[in-house]
């Protein structure tokens, strides 16, 4: 890095230009990563945070929250399977209602048995117990100014949900806040025609041990059993949202690698006489490649750090309620990917150092 460090200082204008492009790219990647995490949170955080490791859906519908229907017999069959330590029904439905101020509210109603392992723990107020009592996500409380003791009226089925507790963490499903209700209340809301739906639910949530075989359990109970993480794809729009953002990020990584590669390609061509001189003075290809890649790594790392810090600042300014979340792991991974792919682009360009002839220093073969 003897020459590379001095080149960075000497040609700081050119490197600052390149660095600002990398910093902007990093900012975009980090903000997109935050948006992706926010959208995931908005879509499936309630499913992600379920205290279950596997979910069983109706075999005929497959892994689809909006269509799957199971009954108590399915729950009982699954509870008896080897490796299943707990099984409980979970009802899932998107409903509309009106808040205490008469404003419309969209919410995801999760029906659970109040004494099952799925029952939520309220951070404020009480847990599930009463016939009409629900425990709501703080998002619902914040966005619609709904508090403990308030009533959410579901117009379509003419039912009232009494808010008895508020969860500690946000719980969302399908981009709307979740309200946990007793499974009987959920059944009344989802199957308002009477006895027909009394033992129905959307799926069966399972807690399993090492001996659990999802395929065998699924065959025995006529269900499709998947891990909790695999079930995310069953949420409407989840695969499309994450797929779109992943595609945008892949293109940005590619653009970043090409941009950095192009910069170092031009830089290498411009430095050809100096590289020839260095070779004539006895610099080996390995030394020159180390020097050039070290230079690329330094500029990429510094720029990515600047981009990371600025985007964290910008992220902090994004208003609450926007689908945006900074998760350290993916954010750091995005920054590292910008550096790694930029370095790959630089490597593709600076390898032409090896073909520079030291004879250039003597004006070529004369």
């Amino acid at each position: 890095m003897f020459v590379a460090r001095r080149d960075l200082r000497f040609a700081k204008g050119r490197f600052a230009l390149m660095g600002s492009v990398v910093a902007l790219l990093t900012m975009l990647m980090v903000l997109l990563t935050g948006l992706a995490a926010g959208l995931v949170d908005d879509n499936i955080s309630a499913v992600r945070d379920l205290p279950a490791d596997h979910l069983a859906f109706d075999a005929t519908t497959g892994v689809r929250f909006s269509q799957s229907v199971v009954d108590d017999a399915t729950v009982a069959t699954l509870a008896a399977q080897p490796g299943v330590s707990d099984a409980a029904p979970l009802g899932n439905a998107l409903v509309n209602g009106t808040g205490p101020d008469g404003a419309g509210i969209d919410l995801a109603l999760f029906g659970v048995e109040p004494d099952s392992f799925l029952a939520p723990t309220a951070a404020q107020g009480d847990g599930l117990g009463g016939a009409d009592g629900v425990v709501i996500s703080p998002t619902l409380a914040d966005k619609h100014d709904v508090g403990i003791g308030d009533t959410i009226h579901l117009d379509r089925v003419d039912a009232d949900l009494q808010v008895v507790g508020v969860l500690g963490d946000d719980a969302n499903y399908g981009h709307v806040p979740v309200a946990y209700a007793p499974i009987d209340l959920w059944r009344r809301v989802t199957y308002p025609m009477g006895d027909e739906g009394t033992d129905k639910a959307t799926l069966v949530a399972l807690r399993t041990t090492d001996g659990f075989d999802p395929t065998a359990a699924g065959s025995a109970s006529d269900t499709t059993v998947v891990t909790r993480t695999a079930s995310f794809a069953g949420s409407p729009g989840y695969a499309e949202e994450t797929g779109t953002l992943t595609m945008i990020k892949c293109f940005l990584y590619l653009i970043g690698a090409v941009l950095v590669g192009a910069f170092f390609a031009v830089w290498t061509v411009q430095r050809k006489p100096e590289i020839g001189l260095l070779k004539a003075l006895g610099a080996s290809n390995a030394y020159l490649l180390r020097d050039a890649l070290g230079q690329a790594l330094a500029i990429l790392t510094m720029s990515a750090l600047v981009g990371l810090v600025v985007s964290l600042g910008l992220g902090a300014m994004i208003p609450n309620g926007a689908p945006f979340a900074f998760v350290p792991g993916p954010v750091l991974l995005a920054g590292a990917a910008v550096v790694a792919l930029g370095l790959l682009g630089a490597a593709m360009s600076v390898r032409r150092i090896t073909s520079v002839d030291p004879l250039i220093a003597l004006g070529g073969a004369r």
Partner: protein, 229 residues
């Protein structure tokens, strides 16, 4: 610390484009001796420096740099030999633009894996010897052509080379500066016992040379300075 070329020939190009750049060249430069090679453009002067400096492999013949047979060593060893035993003084772009005068000299031990800080004193002494100590912290664009060439000479001596090869070291200088640089090169070579070859078009520097040879169509012939003039 000598340079020996025995029956060296170099053919460049193929077929109709084939050129005999060096034609059975014999040359012995003793330790501390300074020789000039003059001749028209394209006569093979720079090819002579290229083969003597281990940058080109001759088609035939033997080259010994400080006793090391260049034909008997691989590319990596030739690169190392250039780094450790040969000092180059180039014309044109001969200094790295981002390095100060002092750093131009410190670069060489760094290429050799030696911590530059330990070589700082020698670099400062060499700059003193070529009259550039007061501009040690200047970059090339802050120096005149003559000053750049002085730094180039100091750099060539930095690794205590066995051989110095100078390619048109006075081409960008006026006559007074040319004589000054030639005298400096000769003095340093005599003082350090370095075998030095100066390729030049400049007749004004020949008085400072111990011997003068002419190159024409790849053939090297010994002359006296008076003959050249």
């Amino acid at each position: 610390m000598t340079l020996d070329l025995t029956d060296v020939s170099l053919t460049l190009g193929d077929g109709a484009d084939e050129v005999r750049a060096l034609d059975h060249v014999d040359l012995h430069v003793a330790a501390g001796e300074v020789i000039a090679v003059v001749g028209p453009s394209g006569s093979g002067k720079s090819s002579l420096l290229a083969v003597a400096g281990a940058m080109l492999t001759p088609t035939s013949g033997t080259i010994l740099v400080d006793g090391v047979d260049l034909g008997a060593i691989d590319d990596a060893a030739r690169t190392r030999l250039r780094r450790e035993r040969v000092g180059f003084v180039f014309q044109g772009v001969n200094l790295l633009p981002s390095l100060t005068a002092l750093e131009q000299l410190l670069l060489l031990p760094h290429l050799d894996g030696v911590r530059p800080a330990t070589q700082r004193q020698r670099a400062a002494e060499l700059l003193e010897r070529v009259g550039m100590a007061h501009k040690a912290d200047r970059r090339p664009h802050e120096l005149s052509g003559g000053e750049r060439q002085r730094v180039g000479i100091a750099r060539a001596l930095m690794v205590r080379p066995a051989v110095v090869l100078a390619d048109e070291p006075t081409s960008a200088l006026d006559q007074a500066r040319s004589a000054e640089i030639a005298a400096l090169l000769a003095d340093q070579a005599h003082a350090d016992g370095v075998a030095t070859v100066v390729v030049t078009h400049d007749p004004s520097i020949l008085d400072h040379m111990d011997r003068v040879l002419t190159m024409a169509d790849g053939v090297l012939t010994e002359r006296t300075p008076a003959t050249i003039r």
